[in-house]
Subunit: 255 residues, 2 copies
C-alpha cells in the first residue's frame, strides 16, 4: 500500500478552519487526497490560514454533495467512530489496527477514511457505506477529539505502518557506531586502576564497586570519541601527581 492511495473524506465540516488544519495534518503524514462532502464553507480564507502551507491539499481537494461520489472509485471504505457501534456489528479496529490493516492492502487498493461532522459524527446511512469502523482510544471522561487531531492520529498510524512495511526506507536515524567490548574492558581496567590510585577502591576487595561501575557505564554504549573523553578524564585524575604546577597548588590549599 502507498500513502498516495489513501483518501481522506470529511463530511459536512462546519468550521472551515478544521478543513485547513486537517489538510495540514494530512500533508505532514504524507497524505494528499482530500474529498469534502458538503462543507459549510469552502474555499475559505480561514481554511487557507489553518492549512499553514499545505495549500496544495486544499487546491486539489474535491468537493462533492454525496458520500457515494467520494468513495465510488475506492476499494476499501473505513468510517471513523467515537465509540463502538452497537446497532450493527461492523468489523471494528483501533487506530493502530487500522494503520496495519491499510498497510497490508494491495498497492492498487484505494482506501477511503471517512470523518463525520464535528458535532454528530457519521449518520447511520453513512456508516452503512463503510466496510469497517475505526476508533481512536480516548479518555472516557473527555473524548472530545478535534477533527484535525483525529485526522492527524489516523494519518500518523497509516504513515507509520506503511513506512514500517516499506522497510524503514524513510527512517533517517543516525546510527551510532559503538566501541567494541574489548575497548570497554580497557576502559574498565583504566577506571579500576584510577580508583585504586585515588584510594577510592581497596585493591584487596575491588569486586563490588567495579560491578556497579560496569552496571552504570554499560548503559552508556559509547562511541569512540566519547570513550576517549572519559579516558582522558581518568588520565587527568591520575596525572596530577606528574604535574609540578598542581603540586604547588596542592601545597597552598593545605597550608
Amino acid at each position: 500500500m502507498s500513502l498516495n492511495n489513501i483518501r481522506i473524506v470529511l463530511i459536512g465540516t462546519t468550521h472551515p478552519g478544521n478543513i485547513g488544519s486537517a489538510a495540514r495534518a494530512m500533508l505532514t503524514m504524507g497524505l494528499t487526497d482530500l474529498y469534502l462532502v458538503n462543507p459549510a464553507k469552502f474555499p475559505n480564507a480561514q481554511a487557507t490560514t489553518m492549512a499553514s502551507g499545505a495549500d496544495s491539499i486544499l487546491a486539489n481537494a474535491t468537493v462533492v454533495s454525496h458520500l457515494q461520489e467520494a468513495i465510488a472509485d475506492c476499494h476499501v471504505v473505513i468510517g471513523t467512530s467515537a465509540r463502538s457501534q452497537r446497532t450493527i456489528q461492523w468489523p471494528q479496529m483501533d487506530a493502530r489496527e487500522c494503520g496495519e490493516f491499510i498497510a497490508e492492502q494491495d498497492y492498487h487498493n484505494k482506501t477511503a477514511i471517512i470523518f463525520g461532522r464535528e458535532s454528530s459524527g457519521l449518520s447511520n446511512e453513512e456508516l452503512e457505506l463503510c466496510q469497517r469502523l475505526v476508533s481512536i482510544p480516548v479518555n472516557p471522561d473527555f473524548s472530545s477529539l478535534n477533527l484535525a487531531s483525529a485526522v492527524q492520529v489516523i494519518g500518523y498510524e497509516c504513515s507509520v505502518a506503511i513506512n514500517h512495511q516499506q522497510g524503514d526506507a524513510s527512517h533517517d536515524n543516525v546510527k551510532r557506531q559503538l566501541v567494541t567490548t574489548q575497548e570497554m574492558e580497557l576502559f574498565y581496567q583504566h577506571f579500576e586502576s584510577t580508583l585504586i590510585e585515588l584510594r577510592y577502591l581497596d585493591p584487596e576487595k575491588p569486586r563490588l564497586i567495579m560491578r556497579k561501575i560496569r552496571s552504570i557505564f554499560g548503559r552508556i554504549e559509547p562511541e569512540s570519541t566519547e570513550l576517549n573523553l572519559l579516558r582522558g578524564i581518568l588520565s587527568a585524575a591520575q596525572g596530577r601527581k606528574f604535574l609540578p604546577r598542581n603540586q604547588r597548588n596542592d601545597k597552598k590549599t593545605i597550608n
Copy 2:
C-alpha cells in the same frame, strides 16, 4: 508508569490558541499536568476557546520563567525535536519508542516531555537539559506539524503504551527509581568543578566538554545509590589534595 506522572512542558508558545489546543489534546489522551515556560500570552481567551472544555488543564497549568523550574522534580526529561540532532548524539526515539519507553518507567518516575517554540523548537541550551530526544516521523517535504498535533501524537503513543501495559498482568519487571533532574544538575556542577580542578577543563571555555558529559551521562539514568557512587569518585578525585599522605607519595614520584 501512570499517565498522571507525565508532564507536558511547552516553551515560549507564541499563539495562545495553541496552548488551548494542546490542553484539549492532552486531556483526550488522559494527560493533565501542563507547565508553560514563558508563554507569550497566558491566561488568554483564545486559549480557553481552543481548549474546548479542557478548562481544568489550563486552570491547573503552572507558568514558570525557566525550563529548569519546570523539570526540577522530574526523573526523566525528553525533548521533542523535528529532526535528528547530528552535533551531539543524544539517544533518539520515534514517537512509538517514546511511548513504550515511558510506559516501562517505574511508577514513581515523573517524566517531562518538552515542546519548543512554534517557529524554532528547542534551543541548544534546552536540549542539553534533556536526556533523550523524540521525533515524530513526518513527510520530509512538509514537516510543519502543528504544536497541538505534536502533543496529540506523543500523548496518543503514551496513552496506548501505558494502557497496553496495564492490560498486561504478567508484567513483573523490576523498575528503577531514578534521581531527579535537580540531583543530576548538582552532579554536573560537581563534575564540572572537579574537571576544572584537574585542569582538564578550561573554565573560560567549559561549554563543549560539559555538553558531551551531559550527553554521555544523561544516558545513565541513575538511581540514587549510583549517583552517590559517581559523586564519591568525583570527591576522591578532588580530595587528594586534602590528604597529606598522598602529597608525600606525589613528591616521591616526582623527584
